[in-house]
Symmetry: C3
Subunit: 154 residues, 3 copies
Amino acid sequence: MIDILALCAFNAAYAHVIDDDALEQWPAFFTENCRYRITNVENEREGLPAGIVYADSRAMLEDRIAALREANIYERHRYRHLLGLPLVLSADDTTAMACTPFMVARVMATGETLLFATGEYRDRFIRSNGKLLLAERVVVCDSTVTDTLLALPL
Amino acid sequence: MIDILALCAFNAAYAHVIDDDALEQWPAFFTENCRYRITNVENEREGLPAGIVYADSRAMLEDRIAALREANIYERHRYRHLLGLPLVLSADDTTAMACTPFMVARVMATGETLLFATGEYRDRFIRSNGKLLLAERVVVCDSTVTDTLLALPL
Amino acid sequence: MIDILALCAFNAAYAHVIDDDALEQWPAFFTENCRYRITNVENEREGLPAGIVYADSRAMLEDRIAALREANIYERHRYRHLLGLPLVLSADDTTAMACTPFMVARVMATGETLLFATGEYRDRFIRSNGKLLLAERVVVCDSTVTDTLLALPL
């Protein structure tokens, strides 16, 4: 059975590649036909599907990272994810559903550190060939205000 | 024996019902004759018992939630709890004592996100009929400033 | 083998002695010939070794705590550490390498709470006589701005 420790190890590695600026490794945490969305709690409650960011394949996630690398980011910044323990909603040998709360701080080039986003991941995991992957991650932000700097993955 | 993973799963579920606005489920995490207090580190060190919030039964916690629902909350807000790993002070098959650090962000209806409270839970758990419950949770806030908005449970 | 739960329990106890103002117990988490450094991500990437704080023995850590206790701290403050799950890079029966993200809030005597530092621990653990100890902890802060109040251990 997929257990809480396996999900914790997965999430620790996921956050690490983003915060350590190894963004090219980020899409590999997802299945090929994954869904990845960033939305907020109000939109999600009203069933508005679009969200702030939307991808329905790993290839789209790879494109997103390539675009980020090519873009001029006017204000350079880093993220620091702190993830809570997953609340496991269901789990068997090959699939798991879980919610995991997060806080993300943004550290600007000036050194200024802000609590940038809070919310929860709503996840569907699958295990394929012994490897855990995200079939779906919906990033539900608590705040309804979309920050125009939303650039790095959450 | 009550182990750290059981406490982690308990705490993840506890935080989730508050942050997901399922407040009516919150009292069920406590025993019928529980104690629940919110206080701060200075008061706690000086042995001042009252604290900011005090309840000595699950029924009082239920009343508190009912009052919250009926009250006009002028400024609507959400919480996001992020809990650390429990430090297990003692544990056997039916009881455990643990300290768990927390950070709580408050997200206002305007979208503004603030680091609202930090501190630690000082907990006494019991296991009854296979179910883990809080016999006592003392929420010791690091800051001595009582926020008048302190309304949702910590 | 040193596992993730053992590292979690270690880190919970480590953070607790700092945040609970039991600083005299802090050096005992390290080996006698330990290395402890606080630096930032830019310096670390460029291989600049000095950092903001440097110690290469447990005795130096003890001296540091003694100095802190004797010093006039103009602005009294507390820390609250929230640590993420360790990313275990390698582990066997007696050693482990791991990265652990952190957020630290600083709570001033006025009650003001700020997100003070974020970053990651880069750790080398050893197990000696059944006891886990830090042979090396490099505290890599995300922000390059050195706060002159950096006084309590991270």
